[in-house]
Symmetry: C2
Subunit: 519 residues, 2 copies
């Protein structure tokens, strides 16, 4: 089954495609099947769906994270410490112990971990571990020593060195992360190749056949090209460069064409208006409920942001701006308003995350063809934290998926992997329940912002394709579209939310070729 271009569900019993992997025809119940066996596979009545599209992920980070120390499943600091010790022992040749995925909120720690915690398990090599949201990193004492961080070090603009008394204690927030990160040896091109292939394998295994890459660096791009040139690119990547410079350096006066049979395109530019809620980097209109002196951080001045948006838009690049706090969202909406007269036409301004929006600003997402690019699972992961950060009274416009649709915004869903698992079935189930994997809270968190099962499906397929100017290429199974589909073990339109979350992808096909199979 699939949706048609109007978002209506269509059932079919077979799919006919061209030798180069485009859909020619969907066969209806009872319709004569072609005489000649030009089918590549007999699906034997299994459930076929269009491949999912993740509208917001970080391809290389997913691959690197998978090859590095992964703390994302840890439930306590002690568990994390034993995993770190084991990884260090298993990887004696690694000059730095790198990894991430920790979240002191999940650990119930009530504060950031410290360098001393790390020193207790690894002191012979620098250790540098990023928080689950990427907005903070945690190092051991040797990492700080290598980086020359001392009691005299001051927090840079847009960042914060966490301190105990006068002494840096090992955690670096937002822009302060660079103080240590710049000393980490950069990966070699061969490491980048491995990371890309690893990420691709993970994504295809979740039934994701296309993904936006939010923040492609020049070196990321060169890795995509190496694998594309070799014919090793199986997934489709819609690339948004990390800031304006790489887009211009790579693509010149506007987006690249689609490359490698619609596998890769640099379409736009990713910018940041603020940080994230977990590290109190999200930019709020009023102070944090749990830190009354803090408003979060605007990543750049209003003028700078507008100049960058304008510089990208001038050359026809799509603009995608990360905005989490209500102040940041308002600033981005203001900037789009200010720019709409100059940059007319089909611009598809993207607001990434759009997590906390002042209810007064919600209707503004329906103007200027804005796309809200949101991540359902963030809502369940953040629930406790966001209540603490904002307080009950300011949650009306939080993760407001239904309001976005009601106001006429475009809606595209993703996972923000590797911040969350890329699993689209978890995102899908969350979107129409606002309940987490254990069914909490019963009835859903602020359930008025649930959307329908079909609306959520569309946001993970056709809506996400539209958000990347790819709706003529893929996003549904229809005549002329790329035959990107998956075979799954149950009917996701009939499954309970719990069953939907347990869906297993059995095969993944991209452009009419089987590129992944469950073993």
């Amino acid at each position: 089954m699939t949706m048609d271009k109007d978002g209506k569900v269509i059932q079919f019993t077979g799919l006919v495609m061209t030798p180069d992997g485009k859909v020619v025809k969907l066969l209806k119940q009872g319709e004569k099947r072609p005489d000649k066996l030009d089918w590549r596979a007999d699906m034997k009545g299994k459930v076929m769906l269009p491949g999912f599209i993740d509208a917001h992920g970080h391809v290389m980070d997913l691959g690197f994270r998978a090859l590095e120390l992964d703390l994302s499943g840890t439930k306590s600091l002690e568990e994390a410490k034993s995993k770190i010790a084991a990884y260090a022992a298993a990887n004696p040749d690694r000059k730095w112990i790198l990894g991430g995925g920790w979240n002191q909120e999940v650990w119930g720690l009530g504060h950031f971990p410290t360098a001393a915690d790390l020193d207790a398990v690894v002191s012979d090599r620098p250790v540098w571990l990023s928080r689950a949201d990427g907005h903070a990193s945690w190092g051991n004492s040797l990492a700080m020593k290598v980086a020359g961080v001392t009691a005299k070090s001051v927090s840079p603009a847009g960042g914060r060195i966490e301190k105990t008394g006068a002494l840096p204690n090992g955690v670096f927030v937002d822009a302060a992360q660079a103080l240590v990160a710049k000393l980490v040896p950069p990966p070699l091109p061969r490491d980048r190749n491995s990371a890309l292939l690893k990420a691709q394998e993970i994504l295809l295994g979740f039934g994701i056949t296309a993904t936006a890459d939010m923040g492609t660096t020049l070196d990321d791009w060169l890795a995509y090209r190496r694998m594309g040139d070799k014919g090793s690119l199986r997934i489709r990547i819609i690339s948004y460069s990390s800031g304006v410079e790489p887009a211009i350096q790579i693509a010149g006066n506007g987006p690249t064409p689609w490359l490698y049979n619609d596998k890769l395109r640099l379409i736009g530019v990713k910018l940041y208006a603020d940080g994230a809620l977990g590290s109190r980097g999200a930019w709020l209109k009023a102070p944090y409920a749990d830190a009354p002196k803090e408003l979060g951080l605007g990543f750049m001045s209003d003028d700078v942001m507008r100049n960058l948006m304008s510089r990208a838009a001038m050359d026809g690049f799509q603009v995608a701006v990360h905005a989490i706090g209500d102040r940041a969202n308002a600033e981005v909406l203001n900037a789009i308003d200010a720019m709409a007269d100059t940059y007319k036409g089909d611009r598809r301004w993207r607001v990434e995350h759009a997590q906390i929006v002042d209810p007064a600003d919600l209707p503004r997402f329906g103007k200027n063809g804005i796309i809200a690019s949101m991540q359902p699972v963030h809502q369940t992961s953040d629930r406790g934290m966001v209540e603490a950060r904002l307080g009950e009274a300011r949650l009306t416009g939080a993760y407001a998926w239904a309001s976005m649709l009601r106001n006429g915004a475009g809606l595209a869903f993703g996972s923000d992997y590797p911040v969350e698992s890329p699993d689209p079935f978890a995102g899908w189930a969350t979107a129409f329940t606002r309940m987490d994997a254990s069914g909490q809270p019963f009835g859903g968190w602020r359930p008025e912002e649930r959307i329908s099962r079909e609306q959520a499906w569309w946001a993970f397929t056709g809506g996400a394709a539209y958000a990347g100017y790819a709706e003529d290429k893929f996003g549904r199974l229809g005549v002329g579209q790329r035959a990107d589909f998956i075979i799954v073990d149950r009917d996701p339109l009939l499954a309970s939310p719990t069953d939907l979350r347990a869906t297993k992808v059995q095969e993944t096909w991209v452009g009419g070729e089987k590129v992944w199979e469950r073993r």
Copy 2:
């Protein structure tokens, strides 16, 4: 007509090719022509030759030079000054006046020009003009001021600030050029696109269908990819990266595949062992005859050069080392000797220019599969200068084309454009005469180093293809080769040297498509 893979001349009356532009068959005199008209063009008995391959050029420099102020035809400083003034007046929007091609030897000046000469014609904007050989640049006072060059400035390693008394006088040799060059605003990607297309147009107009690009930067490469992605790359580019870093960053663990139907490949790495003779940067075994205290400049220590060669070869990149002076050539030969046991197989070590070789070293070019990549026209341009720099006694191994072949070296010819014109007919005529366009010196300069007309042709076609690992793709018209050919207005095997130099290319075809036509 063409040569076969053994370098033998073959005459044919027609060429049959596949729809994707590969040669299927050469038709012999009297042989039945295909019934069906699957010919793309009736050449009406004109002379068809394989496209030329320039084994050593600088694609982007050619394009930029063509778009910038061109002083290469100037015969005096006064003529140059009036051209500079006219260009400045015609380009009021250019923030810097950039260009090159000057040669104080041609001007008969006897010394470098000065900043004061430039100030007399342009003083409101910085002026920065490179010497014909690229080994020196000439700026006005404003350029030096912008760069902060004063009487206190000291010459960097590998370079020299020319001074009058204690004061810098406007000319900067070799590495010293960077003092000012780093202040020149870099070209935008759109400027790079324009330069590439301009260079391509010029090269195709000379009948050059493939070229080595000696010193591709990352930004050059990104321009090649932009034009390749758009389908605008018409010429074939065999790319040698500017140093080791870009090769690894772009291609990772070894050369890229051939891209865009064999239009582009990064195959190797270009390194520099020394500078050039004109600016006395070439590294000699004994002092310059006209500067008895100078030996020229080794660009890097022996160890550094070997490390770089080794690092490139380790990942399977081809190594091409610029060596002009006899000392530099000896050092490169030593390095190849030292490396040959470690890096076995088909390595095709390239020595670029190999201009002045100690006769004792000449036989060493026949070992280890070395390719001498030489530029015939340099011999006629440099003749007077090289006699002054070296004196008569040291010219036995100078531009020793015949010795290279006799000793068993591979021989590939190019022009070093834009240092010289890319015109391959000039190079071809020079190679078997050792006389310049005006027939001087009568009988040829050191005529024992002439080679045959056919040997020279091969060095500009099949020999140049072999030098870039492309002999299975192009370089001659034979079954399975790409149909890269040109239509010319005379028979170059019968023409007198003077007539050969006057050959006009009428059409240029690459991969079976007409990509250039004389209008």
